[in-house]
């Protein structure tokens, strides 16, 4: 199982989500986004540590998070996409949560006991995140013309990154559709089929956005290696 890939997905998404803190539409959403970022960061830390142990080269979670460059990161492209407006962020979260619920359900039965334990914990959190994303999708989709338009634009912008999530796990596509479609239907939204899906995150081939994200995330650790506070 691709422990490092799963770790990187959660690390990068945690960083993206945390960009909303103190900038979300209201205080409750600031708090919500911080909570979700923290859940993803917790999963990332556990999996990075586990990967370091499996690899056996003595790399810690900090080494792996802060001292790998763009080409060494293996997260899915959808995780690194900019937040855009709130509608686009909710679109990304709904898509990713719908994928991750199925992924954790599957990995909870992994023969790798540590991965299974992390997954079974993360599954409960992912379901909760999904409910938040679904509620907001419905609110934006059925809210005003403007909110519907923005959420729909978010789905259009992200459609090209959907197929990549299933390259390693074709079997998760059906569950994903079953979770996603009723919510979108209810919300008068559609996920278009993109004619040219983008992929490559797992091989370290990223969109231009990851480098900028890493520059911010890693700058302190690189300027002051080993710093504690």
């Amino acid at each position: 199982m691709n422990v490092l890939g799963f770790a990187d997905d959660n690390l990068i998404l945690a960083q993206r989500l945390s960009e909303w803190v103190a900038a979300a539409p209201d205080l409750e959403l600031d708090i919500a986004v911080a909570n979700m970022a923290l859940d993803h960061l917790g999963v990332a830390r556990a999996l990075l540590t586990h990967f370091g142990d499996l690899e056996g080269k003595g790399r810690t979670e900090d080494d792996l998070a802060m001292f790998r460059s763009e080409r060494e990161l293996t997260n899915l492209l959808i995780c690194e996409q900019p937040n855009g407006d709130f509608g686009q962020t909710i679109a990304r979260q709904l898509l990713f949560d719908s994928y991750q619920v199925g992924l954790w359900e599957k990995l909870a039965g992994s023969p790798d006991e540590i991965l299974a334990a992390v997954a079974s914990k993360a599954l409960l959190e992912a379901r909760y995140h999904w409910q938040h994303s679904a509620t907001w999708t419905e609110r934006l989709g059925r809210g005003t013309e403007e909110s519907n338009r923005r959420m729909q634009s978010g789905l259009v912008a992200l459609a090209r990154y959907v197929d990549e999530m299933f390259d390693e796990h074709q079997d998760l596509r059906r569950g994903f559709d079953e979770r996603l479609t009723p919510v979108l239907d209810e919300s008068r939204l559609v996920l278009p089929k993109d004619p040219s899906p983008r992929r490559g995150g797992r091989r370290g081939m990223h969109t231009e956005h990851l480098g900028h994200l890493l520059a911010e995330m890693q700058s302190l650790a690189r300027a002051y290696p080993g710093v504690q506070w």
Binding site: E28, L29, I31, A32, A34, N35, M36, A37, L38, D39, H40, L41, G42, V43, R45, A46, E113, I114, A116, A117, V118, S120, K121, A122, L123, L124, E125, Y128, Q131, H132, T135
Partner: protein, 153 residues
């Protein structure tokens, strides 16, 4: 064997280790204390996180270590994630204590009663609250906002 440990057992000492965010709940009542093995003065304590990213885990680990250490034990704290903690692991006493302190104990959102006026129904203001384990509610009857200990299972 000469022992410097006090007469309080590790179990009794651990009953005094509280959750830093909910300081009226012990880690045992919260259900995150998974095991205590004592050999002489060496104590191995197993805990499990409530949430993957719960920032209180580091504080709890330190509190356990200093509590046991100050009573002459040599603690070792181990983190065990399986099986995953759920709100079913809360003790019945924890549910009572939450209620007494103005928190609604875990339950499905639609049936939540206000811990102050005991009336309902309440509505969800935010599914995420001031800590990882809470959601923010408001009572439909008396209008008071209150925290719901999120149901996780």
């Amino acid at each position: 064997m000469v022992t410097t440990a006090t007469t309080l057992s590790p179990h009794q000492l651990l009953d005094q280790v509280m959750d830093p965010e909910l300081p009226f709940l012990s880690i045992a009542d919260l259900g995150i204390l998974r095991g205590v093995e004592t050999v002489g003065t060496r104590v191995r304590v197993t805990i499990t996180p409530t949430y993957s990213g719960c920032p209180a885990m580091d504080a709890i680990r330190k509190d356990i270590e200093s509590m046991l250490d100050s009573h002459g034990y040599q603690p070792e704290v181990v983190l065990n994630r399986a099986p995953a903690w759920t709100t079913d692991d809360l003790s019945p006493r924890a549910r009572d204590l939450l209620q007494q302190h103005g928190f609604a104990p875990p339950q499905a959102d639609h049936s939540v009663g206000c811990p102050r006026c005991a009336d309902g129904p309440a509505r969800v203001v935010s599914r995420f609250g001031s800590t990882a384990c809470k959601a923010l509610m408001v009572c439909g009857s008396c209008g008071e906002p209150f925290d719901l200990f999120k149901e996780l299972r």
